[in-house]
C-alpha cells in the first residue's frame, strides 16, 4: 500500500545504480587494495576499537544472564536486537571492509530472505573486491542492487498473451499464499484494459473458496464458472474452457485449491487439470503462475521446485509485498529455476497489483 509506494519514492539514491557499478567494478582488483588500502585502514582503526569495546561490554552482560538461566535472559534481550537498520552499517565517513563489516553485511542480506547461500556468495564477492578498503554505503549497495536486479532481469518477462484467444492462465500455490486475491487483481487489470475475462473457481476444496472468487467477480464485473464444493476441479476447468472457447473470451483464469508441494496426489491433480485444459485449447495453459507469499522464507524454494515439476510454472506472482517482508527468496528462485516474477501484490484491494520491476525490487530490498 502506501508503505510500498513511499518506499519506492525515497529510494532515489545519490548515486545511480548503473553508473556506480560501471565505475567501481573495474577498479577493485586485489592489487588496488594493497595500494590504497593500508593507509585508510589505519585511519579507521580507532573507530574499530571503539566498536569492539562496546561489543565486549555487551558480552559481559550476557555472562550475567547465563547465570540466571541463560535463555530467559536471551528472551529478554533479543527484543532489543531488531532495530538494526541498514544505515547502521555506515557512519557518514564510510566503513572499513573487515570481518565485522562482512558479518554485518551478511546479516543484512539474510534479513531479506535471500537465503544463506546467496548471502554468502554476495558477501564473499564484496569481500574479494573491497577487503581492507573504506567504502561508502551507496557504493556497496549499488553493487549489490545491480547484481540482484541483473539476475532478476535475466529471467524477466511480462504476462504472455496467446495469439489466438483464449489465453489460459492457471494459478497455483500453497495454502493462503494469495492465489484467489491475486486472480481477482489480475482479472481486474485485464478487464480494465478492455479484455473479456472468465474466471474458473477451481478451488472446490476449501470452505467458501468458490464464494470468495464469486464475490470478486461481481466486484470486477467479469464472468465466472463455479461448481459445488467438493466437485472435481478438472470438471470446473473443462467447463470453463468450453465456455471460454464458445463465447470467445480473451482470457480465462483458473483458481486452484491451495496445496503443499509435498502432497504428491494433489500435485498430480494439477497435472490432470492441465491435461483437461489442453483438450479444448491444445497449447493451454499459456501461463502457469505460482503465487508466493512475500513473507515466506526458504521453503519458497521448495515450492518453486515442486510446483514447477508438477505444473510447469512460467512465472511468479509475489503477493503481500506491502508488509515489512522483503521477498528476497525470489532471487535464488530466479537463478535456480529461471522463473521470472511477473507481478507483485501490494495490498488487498483490486488495484493493488503491479508489474514487477527488478530495479525497484532491488532498491527496496535494503530500504
Amino acid at each position: 500500500m502506501v508503505f510500498w509506494r513511499k518506499k519506492r519514492a525515497d529510494t532515489s539514491e545519490p548515486t545511480h545504480p548503473q553508473s556506480a557499478s560501471t565505475e567501481t567494478v573495474p577498479t577493485n582488483r586485489v592489487a588496488d587494495d594493497s595500494k590504497n588500502g593500508p593507509s585508510e585502514a589505519k585511519g579507521e582503526s580507532p573507530q574499530q576499537d571503539g566498536r569492539a569495546g562496546s561489543n565486549s561490554a555487551e558480552s559481559t552482560d550476557s555472562t550475567h544472564a547465563k547465570k540466571v538461566g541463560w535463555f530467559r535472559g536471551f528472551l529478554k534481550k533479543t527484543n532489543d536486537v531488531f532495530n538494526t537498520d541498514i544505515r547502521d552499517l555506515w557512519k557518514s565517513e564510510g566503513r572499513l571492509v573487515d570481518d565485522e563489516f562482512l558479518s554485518d553485511l551478511y546479516a543484512i542480506l539474510v534479513r531479506t530472505d535471500m537465503g544463506p547461500s546467496m548471502a554468502t556468495s554476495i558477501r564473499d564477492s564484496i569481500r574479494d573486491q573491497y577487503r581492507g578498503r573504506k567504502v561508502q554505503q551507496s557504493e556497496i549497495l549499488a553493487v549489490i542492487r545491480e547484481r540482484v536486479a541483473q539476475s532478476l532481469k535475466d529471467r524477466g518477462g511480462s504476462l504472455k498473451l496467446a495469439a489466438e484467444k483464449p489465453t489460459v492462465i492457471l494459478v497455483v500455490g500453497v495454502n493462503g499464499s494469495g492465489k484467489t486475491t491475486s486472480i481477482a487483481k489480475l482479472a481486474n487489470r485485464l478487464t480494465k484494459s478492455g479484455r473479456r475475462v472468465l474466471l474458473a473457481a477451481g478451488d472446490t476444496f476449501r470452505a467458501a473458496a468458490v464464494e470468495q472468487l464469486r464475490i470478486w467477480s461481481e466486484r470486477i464485473g467479469c464472468d465466472i464458472v463455479t461448481a459445488d464444493s467438493g466437485a472435481d476441479p478438472g470438471s470446473v476447468a473443462f467447463r470453463a474452457m468450453q465456455r471460454a472457447v464458445d463465447e470467445s473470451f480473451d482470457v480465462c483464469i483458473i483458481d486452484t485449491a491451495g496445496r503443499l508441494q509435498t502432497q504428491s496426489h494433489l500435485m498430480q491433480q494439477l497435472e490432470k487439470i492441465k491435461r483437461v485444459l489442453q483438450k479444448k485449447v491444445p497449447d493451454a495453459p499459456h501461463e502457469v503462475l505460482l503465487v508466493l507469499d512475500a513473507t515466506a522464507g526458504q521453503n519458497a524454494i521448495s515450492q518453486a521446485k515442486g510446483f514447477s515439476e508438477a505444473a510447469g510454472c512460467t512465472g511468479i506472482v509475489l503477493a503481500k509485498l506491502d508488509g515489512s517482508a522483503k521477498g528476497g527468496v525470489i532471487i535464488p528462485i530466479a537463478e535456480q529455476f529461471g522463473l521470472p516474477v511477473k507481478f507483485i501484490g501490494v495490498g488487498e484491494k483490486l488495484d493493488d497489483l503491479e508489474e514487477f520491476s527488478p530495479d525497484e525490487f532491488a532498491a527496496a530490498l535494503f530500504s
Binding site: M1, F3, S59, S62, T63, A65, K66, W70, F71, F74, K76, K77, T78, N79, V81, F82, T84, Y106, A107, V110, R111, T112, D113, G115, P116, V174, N175, G176, S177, G178, F205, R206, A207, A208, A209, E211, Q212, R214, I215, W216, S229, L260, Q261, T262, Q263, D293, T295, A296, G297, Q298, N299, S302, K320, D322, G323, S324, A325, K326, V329, E348
Partner: protein
C-alpha cells in the same frame, strides 16, 4: 581372565569419556554448521546469532566424549538448548470451568486463522465443552461464509452479522449470542492484517480492550521467513499474546520462524497445525520441533547415544558391580546391547586409541542377527551360569543351546569369546603400542585358526574394514530414516 575383562571394559568406558573440552577454537566448525542450518530453516539471523553466541559461551569448557568430535558434542548441546528455548510444554488452553472463556485469534493474512478456529473448536468439544465461533473477519470476501461452513460441518454455533463494518460491535453482539447459547468457549476469528498497518492494528487493540478476551493466540504460518520477528513483536506489543500456534507443518517447511517468534514474545507455543482437516491440530512438542528446525538428527542421535552409553550413573553402577566382582555374562550382554545401535559400537571402538583393530574383529556384532544370537544364549543361562561360566559343563551347554536354538559349540564359542575380549580390551587401553600390536597379532592368529566361527561374526576380516553388506546397510539407513521421520512428525 574374568577380572581382566572387567578391568578392560571399565578402562574402556573411562577412556570413552575423554579428556577434551570444548573451546572457542574447536567449536568454530560446529558454530558455523549450526548457524547455517538455522538460517536455512528461517530462524531470524539476529536470533540465530544471539542464540549461538549464548550457547557456545555456556558450552565452553564442557567435556567432549572421546568418541565424539567437538562439533558433534556442540551440536548436541545446541539441540538441548533449542528444546529448552522452545519449551516448556504448555498445551493447556486455560479454559475456565463454569464461566465462559473467550479466545481471540490474530495473525497475518493467509496464516490459517479461520481453519485453526475450527480445529480449536474440535479440541474444545473433545473436552466436553461447548465452543462457539464469532466471524469478526469483515475484510476478506467470504471469510464469514467460510466460518459458517466450518461451523455447520462441526456442529458448532457461529455468530455473524451481515453487512457489519465494525468488528468490535460484531464481537460484542457475538459474545451476547454465545452467552444465550450457553457456550463455554468463544473463539473470535479476526481479519488477517499486516503488523505495519497502524490502523488495523489499532482496530485489533480496540477489540482487545473492549472485549477483553481471556486468551489471545497468534497464528503463524510455518513457512514464514526472517520477518517473523517483526510481526510477532508488533502483535505482542499490541495485544500481549498468551500463546502461539504454528500452521502448515505437514509440508517440508522447517518452521524456524517459531524460534524467532518464541525469542521475541516468550509466550508458550500451544499447538501445531499439520493438515487441512479439522482434526489436524497437535499439541506442541519441543523435541520434535527442535530436531525439525536444527535438522541435524544424525549427529544429535549419535551424540546422545554416546552420552547414553557412558551415562555417569550407569557407569558408576557398572563400576560398583565390577568392584564387588559380580560382573557377569548378563552384564556383558546388557553392555553389548547398549552398544547395539547400528554402526555405533564400531564407530566408538574405532575412535578409541588402539581399538581400531579390535573394532574390525568385533565388527559383525553390529549385525542384528549376531546380536540377538548372543542375547539369546545369555538369556538361556541361569543367573548362576552367567555369573560363573565355569559351571557350564556339557549337559548345561546342551541345555542352553536347546533353549535358544543354537548349536552347543556356539555356546562354548561365546564363552571363549567372553574370556578373550577381556585381555584385549585391557591391553588396548592400557598397554604400549607394541604390546597392542603383538597382542592383536596373537589374537588374530588364534581366531583365524579357530575352525569354528566364534559367534559367527567375531571373525577377522583382514584389512578390508568392510562390515556391513549392502543389504544390511540399506536396512540400517531405513531404520535411521524411520527414526528421523518419527522425530520430524513429533
Amino acid at each position: 581372565m574374568f577380572q581382566s575383562l572387567q578391568d578392560g571394559l571399565l578402562s574402556a568406558f573411562k577412556s570413552l569419556q575423554g579428556k577434551g573440552k570444548l573451546t572457542e577454537a574447536n567449536m568454530r566448525d560446529g558454530i558455523a554448521m549450526v548457524e547455517r542450518s538455522l538460517v536455512e530453516a528461517d530462524v531470524n539471523i539476529d536470533v540465530v546469532r544471539k542464540f549461538v553466541a549464548d550457547v557456545s559461551e555456556a558450552a565452553e569448557g564442557r567435556r567432549v566424549l572421546l568418541s565424539l568430535r567437538p562439533h558433534e558434542e556442540f551440536i548436541k548441546i545446541v539441540f538441548e538448548e533449542l528444546v529448552n528455548l522452545l519449551g516448556p510444554v504448555d498445551n493447556a488452553l486455560a479454559l475456565r470451568r463454569g464461566e465462559m472463556t473467550t479466545i481471540m485469534m490474530c495473525g497475518l493474512q493467509g496464516a490459517g486463522k479461520t481453519t485453526t478456529c475450527g480445529k480449536l473448536a474440535v479440541v474444545i468439544k473433545e473436552q466436553k465443552l461447548k465452543p462457539f465461533l464469532i466471524a469478526a473477519d469483515l475484510q476478506r470476501p467470504a471469510a464469514i461464509e467460510q466460518l459458517h461452513v466450518l461451523g455447520k460441518q462441526l456442529g458448532v454455533g457461529v455468530f455473524s452479522k451481515e453487512g457489519a463494518t465494525d468488528p468490535v460491535s460484531v464481537c460484542r453482539e457475538g459474545i451476547a449470542a454465545a452467552k444465550s447459547a450457553h457456550a463455554d468457549v468463544v473463539i473470535l476469528d479476526t481479519a488477517g492484517r499486516l503488523a505495519i498497518d497502524a490502523e488495523l492494528m489499532e482496530q485489533l487493540k480496540q477489540i482487545d480492550r473492549q472485549i477483553n478476551p481471556n486468551q489471545v493466540l497468534l497464528v503463524v504460518d510455518g513457512m514464514t521467513g526472517q520477518d517473523a520477528v517483526n510481526s510477532a513483536k508488533a502483535f505482542n506489543d499490541a495485544l500481549s499474546l498468551d500463546g502461539v500456534i504454528m500452521t502448515k507443518l505437514d509440508g517440508d517447511a522447517r518452521g524456524g520462524a517459531l524460534l524467532s517468534v518464541k525469542a521475541v514474545t516468550s509466550v508458550p507455543i500451544k499447538f501445531i497445525g499439520t493438515g487441512e482437516h479439522m482434526d489436524a491440530l497437535e499439541p506442541f512438542r519441543p523435541e520434535g520441533m527442535a530436531s525439525r528446525i536444527l535438522s541435524m538428527g544424525d549427529i544429535v542421535e549419535v551424540a546422545r547415544e554416546a552420552h547414553r552409553m557412558i551415562d555417569e550413573r550407569e557407569r558408576k553402577a557398572i563400576e560398583e558391580r565390577m568392584s564387588k566382582g559380580v560382573f557377569t555374562l548378563g552384564d556383558f550382554r546388557d553392555m553389548m546391547q547398549k552398544l547395539r545401535k547400528p554402526g555405533l559400537m564400531t564407530k566408538m571402538l574405532s575412535l578409541m586409541p588402539g581399538m581400531g583393530e579390535l573394532s574390525k574383529i568385533m565388527g559383525n556384532v553390529d549385525n542384528e542377527k549376531e546380536m540377538s544370537r548372543l542375547t539369546g544364549i545369555v538369556d538361556s543361562m541361569t543367573p548362576n551360569e552367567r555369573r560363573n561360566p565355569k559351571l557350564i559343563d556339557t549337559s548345561r551347554r546342551n541345555r542352553i543351546a536347546a533353549g535358544c536354538g543354537v548349536q552347543p559349540n556356539q555356546v562354548s564359542d561365546l564363552i571363549k569369546q567372553f574370556d578373550m575380549i577381556g585381555p584385549m580390551l585391557q591391553m588396548a587401553t592400557a598397554g604400549s603400542t607394541s604390546d597392542k600390536m603383538k597382542m592383536l597379532q596373537q589374537m588374530q592368529g588364534m581366531m583365524a585358526n579357530d575352525p569354528f566361527n566364534p559367534l559367527g561374526g567375531m571373525k577377522i576380516k583382514g584389512n578390508t574394514g568392510k562390515r556391513l553388506t549392502p543389504k544390511e546397510r540399506e536396512k540400517l539407513l531405513k531404520e535411521r530414516e524411520k527414526l528421523l521421520r518419527k522425530k520430524k512428525r513429533g
